[in-house]
Point group: C2
Chain length 477, copies 2
């Protein structure tokens, strides 16, 4: 038997015993621990680092919530669970988990209240003009492609990026509050414990884990269940090569060191199924400030490929997966402005032909693309990709410029979305779809809401939401 | 414990005992059984159908072989293992298994001899003018993109599609001969046995299997090992939804009923790792006869996206994965000819503008694409996609026509390429990369040579090649 799976009969002595053992103290683990502890279950959280936080603490802190949360209402926005569900079903990649999306949208208003009750503060101010993460402590922001084609015609748009009140990067605040809540609960926290194996009873149920603590192995019994909340695998080259080799071309891998897929591997060793292991969030933040959406993104053939007003999570996925990471944002002098992210200007020229030559694009390609774009743009139209009218303007005033949006020269920020197959209650499933007794999971060690076409906040969203459910389910087992 | 994994101690009585148990009698299983039996190991092959053959018997029978086989030499072609390796490394998708490709290319000449020795006949005639499967019993054919950009500049091209001597579809002949060879060997064949579980010893080694035989469970002990050769999962909707949801849009799923992923699931339940589960062969046979390569393939934005002389396995992958299955092959009157496959003519028009309107493409898009293409084509050039000069000719003689190459209206033929993670000796690996004692696999239940950009013959090629290795390794254990 693999060393990452131990037979209960091998265990000579349990070093600690709890009802529920949570592995990993990021956002999902904190949520699981809080809910498990509140049911009265003796809850032990182990964390491989010296303290809680994980990747959630280095994130932007955005939570994708909606359906008419108190924050949305305070900012003057209407929303409904139906509209939110419609958008997510259409935008979350091919074949997202409809059941998970359903309970998530139905439960989103309550989940916001729960976060507030844990001490996570949100300032009731809507921030206009950027996507994803506001530069200040404003609380609500657009964090997806809700207003872009084709989604604007599918579901009523609403901003759903809920951002804790901390300037520029709210992940640290979110996790300070959630970890403080865990520490204030009845749950026990054991840092510097790296889980190296699950322990299985002869009947197949997971009954504990073995953790390494400063070099020593500690056997931890879990009377009711183990909850894996160990994060994704963007930091593990072998797993990337096996499941999502294209991600190796992304310069910025969004993940703490712990995002090495350890929990996913532990689950597999215990017979768990994994799903959507190729799925990823791939962001190309090329259109901040929004005025840059008036430029056009072209690929290696000098052709457009997407409506440039789509969210940057969508831009990055299309550019990397469907255009081989060959892309440039072309602007004219009227549209040019300094982008938020330092990005290389790949070429400047007095004419499209000059630009095209400097970029090494096929002769005539960019000229032809711009001519076609400009012809409709003079009427404010974009019949090819349906960019919103406010961003459609002819690009004709020299000089022309091209920002480098290639995977070599630009920032593609990626993390993995595939992982353990779980049901809506957080139970880990085997390949036949049966729950593995005693094994639960949430967060990026599982496949959650999004299997592509990422909107920001879905990972902290599903991690905390389904983390709570996994914790409750384990505690009630 | 999952019912698809049994503890050895549960088994009251073994109904049969062998040294090596092979699960599935397709090409990989036949190869495994032949080699295991020849070492002297008592070999039992179980097959869920009433007879051997599996998907291999409904295939075109092409084997991708090279490096200078007797057949290549008899047809007057030079080839080398280096050239073959160079082509496959460049064409087999992102991050193929270099070690597997290496031993495969080195061993390809010998493997051809082995196939001949099993009674598989090849007629030493090269067939020019079609890709993949010759319409007669000729033995050698182009079955990949070797002569197309960018591969022609990476490795010296050679035809490597080795086709058993049977008209039009050689899979049945290949499997008749291989199954006959198995029946003539010391291996025992037990049809109508569906494997429902692997049996594991307390130390983690796989020591047998449970098979269902006309409703009764039979426990089969394998002293040295179990070899899973059960095929892919193109016929299992749940697995497609979990791993390769886009394939559900392909009209033609290339696989016998047994391609439901059963062996992959059995492996997972025993702790095996799976890799590249999203990978697939997706064929769009839109350019047969080859004269149709002079047309241009355009997507839903009316833009070209690939050199049309690429092999149809590459065309289909690009059209489905990167263009959403929206594609049309546009020809003019000079280039028009009746295609081999019945394909719907989506539109005919006196001008590109008319065609574009009928197809619902953005106004001006096809006109612009054709103008740009024709400008360079008058010089015999294709600077955008580098189609070979012999297929580059301006498309300007009305009427113009468009063949339907959409996933709704055309034939996309797909099968899965992902599966169990094995090493070059056929050992099944766990997520930590360690071999699971007693468990071996080959063929489409494993991830083999290709993880994309398919060339025909790679599956029968790696199935038989690594099937032999898996059989030998198991027998020697």
């Amino acid at each position: 038997m693999s060393r990452s799976l131990r037979d209960e009969r091998e265990i000579q002595r349990w070093d600690d015993v709890a009802d529920v053992l949570v592995v990993g103290l990021g956002a999902a683990g904190a949520a699981a621990a809080l809910e498990a502890a509140r049911t009265g279950a003796d809850t032990l959280v182990i964390e491989r680092a010296g303290g809680g936080g994980g990747t959630s603490a280095m994130s932007g802190g955005v939570l994708y919530l909606g359906g008419g949360t108190a924050l949305q209402r305070a900012c003057g926005f209407d929303d409904s669970a139906e509209a939110m569900f419609g958008y997510l079903m259409a935008s979350c990649g091919e074949g997202p988990d409809e059941a998970k999306l359903g309970v998530y949208c139905e439960g989103s208003v309550d989940h916001y209240e729960w976060l507030v009750a844990q001490g996570v503060p949100f300032k009731p101010v809507f921030h206009h003009g950027v996507s994803g993460e506001p530069p200040n402590d404003d609380g609500l922001v657009w964090s997806g492609s809700e207003r872009a084609h084709p989604f604007r015609d599918i579901a009523a748009p609403a901003p759903r990026g809920h951002v804790p009140a901390m300037e520029a990067q709210a992940g640290p605040l979110l996790m300070r509050r959630l970890v403080a809540a865990v520490e204030g609960s009845a749950a026990r926290v054991a840092p510097n414990h790296r889980c190296v194996a699950l322990v299985r009873a002869p009947d197949g149920a997971v009954v504990g884990a073995v953790a390494e603590h400063f070099g020593a192995a500690r056997a931890l019994r879990a009377r009711r269940g183990v909850v894996l909340t160990t994060g994704g695998f963007i930091r593990d080259d072998a797993m990337l090569a096996a499941h999502a080799p294209h991600l190796r071309r992304c310069k910025f891998r969004v993940g703490a060191e712990g995002d090495d897929g350890s929990g996913i591997r532990l689950g597999i060793a215990a017979g768990a199924a994994t799903i959507h292991m190729d799925a990823a969030s791939i962001s190309l933040p090329a259109t901040q400030p929004w005025g840059l959406k008036r430029g056009i993104l072209v690929d290696g053939a000098g052709q457009r490929f997407i409506n440039e007003d789509a969210y940057y999570g969508r831009l990055g996925e299309h550019a990397l997966l469907h255009r081989g990471g060959r892309a440039w944002l072309v602007v004219d002098d009227a549209v040019f402005e300094k982008p938020d992210y330092p990005r290389r200007v790949a070429a400047v020229g007095e004419s499209p032909a000059e630009l095209e030559r400097d970029l090494g694009l096929p002769p005539g390609s960019l000229e032809s693309t711009l001519a076609l774009y400009n012809r409709a743009a003079t009427r404010g139209e974009d019949p090819a990709f349906h960019k919103a009218r406010e961003y459609v303007t002819p690009l004709e005033r020299p000089p022309f410029g091209a920002f480098d949006c290639t995977s070599e020269g630009s920032l593609y920020a990626a993390f993995t979305l595939g992982g353990l197959h779980t049901d809506v209650e957080g139970r880990v499933l085997d390949p036949a779809g049966a729950a593995i007794p005693g094994l639960f999971a949430a967060g990026r060690s599982t496949s959650g809401l999004s299997v592509g076409g990422y909107s920001s906040g879905l990972s902290l969203g599903d991690g905390t939401f389904f983390g709570r459910r996994a914790g409750r389910t384990a505690a009630r087992t």
